[in-house]
Amino acid sequence: MNVTVLVEYLNSTIRVSVPIILVAIGVCYSERGGVYAMGSEGYMLISAFVSVVTMIYTNNHFISVLAGILSGMLVAGIFSYFTVILGADQVICGLGINFVMLGLTSSLQRLLWGVTGIPRIPVMNAVEIPVLSKIPLIGSMLFNQPIPIYLTYLLIPLVWWIMFRSTWGLQLRAVGENPSCADTLGISVRKTRILGIITGGAFCGLSGAVLSLSQVQTFTENISGGRGWFGLIAATFGGWNPLGATGAGLIFGAAESLQLRLQIMSKINISSYVILMIPYLVALLFILFIGKSRRHPAAMGKFYKKY
């Protein structure tokens, strides 16, 4: 009995944390280049909406995930035009993007489907990997999941490699630390930053698509519900390193799924609103004990103007 509860808990931890981890990786890319990624929530929302709508019309998971990623990239591109080329305030612009996307998706949903809401879409089936899924305890947690989660496993090392071992990753980090130095060396600050933001948008888009297609299976108003912010915090406390961000994302996922478990259990005599607070309190405690001396990229939030 206890083991099945534990297995179920671990399963839901992975499911809950994958969207947070994907957003956190996206945020790493944007912020390593020196641009605040406050719009991550907005990218998730638009991508969740677009992927669900595509799913309803095409009934093809692959195309709808792709559409979601592209929509995230498109919005990130618009954001990068405002902040990197025109030099608008990154924090406020990002918040503005969130609100525009929240309003846009909610009103489009009302416009297209009225008060009844979007119909549910078919389940994204879990794919079992033959031998590995038989490992006790963690087997089904890691190897009996929908395809996008396997994709995430593959992406994490790849993303780390790109950021720390490839030329472009070095350029991105240089641009975030000291843009004028990078510029002197012939790196285009604007191009690198825009590419970083759009890559971040792609990851947030994938996260939104995973959330709506494989977990909620429909689009509801404000579907991301703060996961974008959690991604932002996970990236910060992972030290803007995809591996660290993954670890932080897992912790937030564990807190979130603990909250969901505790709510189902009726025996516990705690106000459900206090239980809802758990993930946020965990984040605060996390910052209090681990998040010490995390230095952000030196040029973060600063507009680089070429003279």
């Binding site: 025109l86 030099g87 608008a88 909610s106 106000s271 605060l284 952000h296």
Partner: protein, 375 residues
């Protein structure tokens, strides 16, 4: 000399246009809303007429406009102070909610206070509660080096849930069980309101007073000058012998406290008890108000009234035309983005002008040198 004069008048024209960038931003936001409404098959003209009717149509509409504006004005003034000092306080919502909680704490725990003491005590305690919430962000910024943006964002959720937990737990009403709320406060804790004016309450005078005080503090006192300097250039402020850290702390505290007052005024003005989710969206709306007012308390006054009118108008429209309230989010976001882009373009044009002038003066100097060498 003549050409110099021409350049000056031309520049001032552009400057005036660019200084109006918040107004232009607001117009763009409303226009986007109007375009969007046409998707529902409603003529954009009808949108404007209904919006105006809902905001200023009759005495009831004006009252609801002013009531919507009150918390936005108070919290907007607080936000403006934080932003002027370079402190990124985006935790208005959490601070607002704990401010409301302070009102309930006073009214429910000490129900026998006379009127003259009750309301001031509520205002003071809500200021302290808001300050305490901002204090958490200050602590993390100073001792952990974590940006206050993240902490205040987290505290938004915690503050909202704290109020929900209280109105469902210790403060739960014994008489009304249909909606999570507290018991009705005693009459001496509530602000006077006028039913014939759409239940307009005296909070609007509190709001105007706060705006005048904060505006005076920011623009006419030495402390305000120091605060603005720290926001413009921390390095210059430090060189001048000020302590930017201290100014950051003061600005965050004032800002959090004012947001707390906004919450308590909303609770004791609009309703007679603390309700779950009473101030949802007010936090980020007041952020938009502060930006629309050019992060200046005196600018917050028209900006807050504009937003209050927008809110009241949208509410009526939701009822009469069936437009979802999510449209307000869209308008809010568009206003925020367009103001920021407008500011950026302003800086861009200014630096370009400076560059041109520098080039011109260089050319002038070069030609003069040439003339001198010829002679």
């Amino acid at each position: 000399m003549k050409s110099d004069k021409n350049i000056k008048t031309k520049k001032s024209m552009i400057d005036i246009l660019l200084d109006l960038s918040p107004v232009i931003g607001a117009c763009i936001g409303i226009l986007i809303g109007a375009c969007f409404v046409s998707l529902w098959g409603i003529h954009p003209g009808t949108f404007f007429v209904e919006l105006l009717k809902g905001a200023f149509g009759d005495r009831l509409a004006i009252g609801s406009t002013l009531n919507s504006a009150v918390p936005l004005l108070i919290a907007g003034a607080g936000t403006a102070i934080a932003f002027k000092a370079g402190a990124n306080n985006i935790g208005q919502e959490g601070q607002l909610f704990v401010g409301g909680l302070a009102a309930a704490t006073v009214a429910l725990l000490i129900p026998n206070l006379p009127k003259g003491i009750g309301i001031p005590l509520i205002l003071i305690l809500s200021f302290l509660f808001g300050m305490a919430f901002a204090g958490i962000a200050i602590f993390f910024r100073l001792f952990k080096g974590v940006n206050e943006l993240l902490i205040t964002l987290l505290l938004n959720y915690i503050g909202t849930l704290l109020v929900s937990a209280m109105v469902n737990g210790p403060f739960k009403s014994t008489t009304n069980v249909s909606f999570p709320q507290t018991d009705t406060f005693g009459g001496q804790f509530l602000l006077t309101n006028w039913p014939t004016m759409g239940y307009m309450h005296t909070g609007i005078f509190v709001a105007v007073a706060i705006i005048i005080i904060t505006g005076y503090y920011l623009w006419f006192t030495p402390a305000g000058l120091r605060l603005r300097t720290a926001g413009l250039s921390p390095l210059a402020s430090e060189t001048a012998g000020n302590n930017p850290t201290k100014i950051f702390i003061i600005a965050m505290f004032i800002s959090g406290g004012l947001c707390g007052i906004a919450g308590s005024v909303e609770v004791i003005g609009r309703s007679d008890c603390l309700r779950q989710g009473f101030g949802t969206n007010i936090g980020f709306e007041s952020l938009a108000v502060a930006l629309l007012g050019g992060t200046n308390p005196f600018g917050v006054l028209p900006a807050g009234l504009f937003f209050g009118a927008l809110k009241a108008g949208m509410q009526t429209m939701q009822r009469s035309l069936g437009i979802p309230s999510a449209l307000l989010d869209l308008i809010k976001g568009s206003i925020m983005i367009s103001i920021m882009v407008g500011n950026a373009v302003k800086v861009f044009i200014k630096t370009n002008n400076q560059k041109r002038q520098m080039k011109k003066s260089h050319e002038l100097a070069a030609s003069k040198e040439k003339e001198a060498s010829c002679q």
